[in-house]
Symmetry: C4
Subunit: 284 residues, 4 copies
């Protein structure tokens, strides 16, 4: 039923069904080769695809695109990940299985609950740090998407005991500074990874109501109200960190707290960036 819906439906938001989204169709619907080979016997007019199927397709296509953008923008490399909360089931979230972000396709996306168990029994290897996502979603109902980054300048900024402040309006979300999570404070000697619920909860607590946090000796995390938002913040966290480091010890005339608030409002969820960044990875 869903097959015919989707195959007949055409295009959703942001070019759904184009490019990598085509893979999605099969993944969502389990279409077989035989089904495709048969001529459609039914002369009846096509039924519309239910909106929730289209929405899920668009969401997962955006999540795949976000994985590729984060690589292209230097936010992730072999490591790091991005997730999105399931709008139809807010205690679940979508994230790739264990895979470098640039290699992710729709068939690699898994849906996890807050115990980090796949909802459909998927047995593929998962990110050991999926707890970052589960526990932040649990603690922050306002958060719909999360990025975890190892960008070198973000890593470094989290180790030098200097506050990062917004150097230009694109860093408005940095406000009066970001918290820094030191895993050692609560867990002593570890491999630095957020690989269980307790560590995820501690990170979520350190994050508090902030848009981002540094993680000492590890990287950082950004959150947002949608995928574009968490991705945009991750990119500009990196850019602001680079600027701060490039300034050497010089005093930087950063944004005043109220300027930062106003600038953050103006940036919205970075739609102009998203269009540019998406085109770049689509051309890739």
């Amino acid at each position: 039923m869903e097959i015919s819906h989707l195959l007949k439906a055409g295009f959703g938001r942001r070019g759904f069904l184009s490019g990598s989204s085509l893979l999605l169709t099969g993944a969502l619907l389990g279409a077989t080769e035989e089904a495709k080979a048969k001529p459609a016997p039914d002369p009846a007019p096509p039924e519309p695809v239910p909106q929730e199927i289209l929405d899920k397709g668009a969401l997962l296509a955006d999540l795949v695109t976000a994985n590729h953008i984060l690589q292209d923008q230097g936010v992730v490399d072999g490591y790091g990940h991005v997730s999105v909360r399931n709008p139809a089931s807010p205690n679940h979230f979508y994230i790739s299985r264990w895979l470098a972000p640039d290699l992710v396709t729709v068939s690699d996306i898994v849906e996890l609950d807050f115990d980090c168990i796949p909802t459909n029994g998927d047995s593929r290897k998962l990110y050991s740090e999926r707890w970052i996502h589960a526990e932040i979603y649990r603690a922050r109902p306002d958060v719909k998407s999360i990025v975890h980054t190892h960008a070198p300048t973000v890593v470094l900024m989290g180790t030098i005991n200097e506050p990062l402040l917004p150097i230009y309006h694109m860093g408005g979300f940095i406000g009066t500074g970001l918290p820094s999570f030191d895993i050692r404070k609560s867990f002593g000697m570890t491999n630095m990874l957020i690989n269980d619920a307790a560590k995820g909860k501690a990170l979520a607590q350190a994050l508090g109501n902030h848009p981002a946090a540094f993680m000492r000796g590890h990287g950082g995390v950004t959150v947002g109200t949608n995928i574009m938002h968490s991705v945009g913040r991750a990119v500009y966290l990196k850019v602001n960190s680079e600027m701060h480091l490039q300034a050497g010890g010089r005093k930087i005339e950063t944004l005043a707290p109220e300027e930062a608030i106003l600038a953050e409002e103006g940036n919205s969820d970075f739609p102009k960036d998203w269009d540019l960044w998406k085109r770049k990875v689509m051309k890739g």
Copy 2:
């Protein structure tokens, strides 16, 4: 009438009608598919395209190329913009609608008056900061093209309270230093954007007769006597800012004021760069 002119005309300056310029033909002339499908019934010799049509076509093609060059050279990313004054109507200027520069095609160019209203009733979303352009064109009749940049090193250079001086001859236009505009001085707490006429006028006043200005917590602006000129200055403002920062606190033996003036004359409007940069984005 203009349709037949242009379709019969062939090539203008810098390969007009090649590549993205083909899009321009339709945009300028509103050619319909039917018109193209019909065989030309008139055996009369082709009439020449009026020069002003060719000139406008070449100008807008250069403006599109400038958008792409600025992305390729790291001067803009999702943000920033470039404009050119309309030579046939000097109180008007051409600029893209709201769009990341690298995505701009000729059909995205709008013509604005100094109140930032599209001259042809175009209702598409526009850059909130188009006032940068309107008010500088109003204040500076000598200026024919303007670039607004968020290049990180330009942003940073505008926040560290150190004067930028020309480090080599390609920065000759920097002369004895550039003004820095701090929006807070006149407007208090803002989102940092030049989003109305008053802010545009204040920026134009800060710019004065200089070729460029920094904008604290935001970026910079360069002006020129044509598109190549403002683009070249934007690139070398970035390069000189990078050099200054890379020098750390070291003393730099910069150009003497008279050397800077002579070097600036020698650079003209960077024609050798333009040819190189253009080829790069055309190949892209």
Copy 3:
């Protein structure tokens, strides 16, 4: 005999026989054009390719890929090299003949003994510094693969008399710091190259049981238990060196020694990176 084995066999680990590995088939087996042109006269079922042939093919394909990855990741340029110990003959190792790593194909791989003599009489020009590899393999039975790098930040880190410590978990293998080899201490004035057995032995002694060492005025070396391991360490030695330098004189809160040990265990042999890096060079 081996020809028929391999031609009938199909695919081994990591897509053996695809891409550049096809070249390998001929190189390993000396297949002639005539042999390929003749129709197979034997109706008997195909014999399996012996496992050791498949294994060698996969190993050399990985070695070629490693050469390309090291260029793509900025670890080598015209210089530097990577080798792997022959598992079937542990006193021998595979390495390219004299060639920039990015140009290496399977036909360029030679097998050397610990006197750096080709085992099959190959008379092509060899790396003058192959002694780095021979003497470390001789001294360290646990080492199965070695990378020699000239990455500028690694070179620089080896000249500034500051210890490099792990800045994040990906640098866990750096532990409590790495040794630095100064060729001048034992050999006086040289061209800096490890171009004979004595210098190779001195370097191996300086390396001791460490995973990597700096070489003053020259570069560095990393070792591992397989190709992915030595390559991954080379990449992250570079990344950690960059971070250290980018921090300027600032104090960095590096990993505690026990954190480094645990992080190193978690990193294993960087399989997620390898998949990403390999895809990048395969697309190249």
Copy 4:
């Protein structure tokens, strides 16, 4: 006569007649379209192409490749140039007409005498700074090729009043340091360009017997015994300058003078680099 020689000849050193060299054939020989269209009427065996024609073809093909390599390696951008002395006529040299190096093809190469006049009456626009080349060739019979660079780190290194010393063996040619030319000392206020014979002579005098020199507020120059040599030195002048700047104020343990001499001998004319760099621009 020369036409038939070359058309029948086939291939010389480094793949002569392949790729861009094909353009060369016509340029060297003035072959007309008619000549190409006619079937060869002569059944006689092909005459060999005289060696001097093949040599010139290979030399100019290498010069074009050098132009492209210098762009690809970040040594030049819109500006900078590379030349080679004519081995058959040592008071002449080959260089591109006025053009960004990456755009140069064989048809852009001109032959100049030491008064910077084209030997064949070519009237195209020339580099204003061709005097750099003429006067160094005049003063230094050992020099066969010259590169002039604006690489930002080389420019910067020439303005900070710190000596550059070889940081690793690839910088061996830097020896105990390079001279720095300040045009102001002899010529007062200028546009910084070496645009006449007097300035060329002053630069050549400052260069003395060194392999390279900095030019304050402008860039640098490297010389060599062939194209590969001057190009390789230009690349490693840039790399060593970058390292020096990246070290911040830290003390660098540079090569001892004798180490530098020995390392320089070992580097020869960078043949391994050339093969790599050439392949990169050929793939372009």
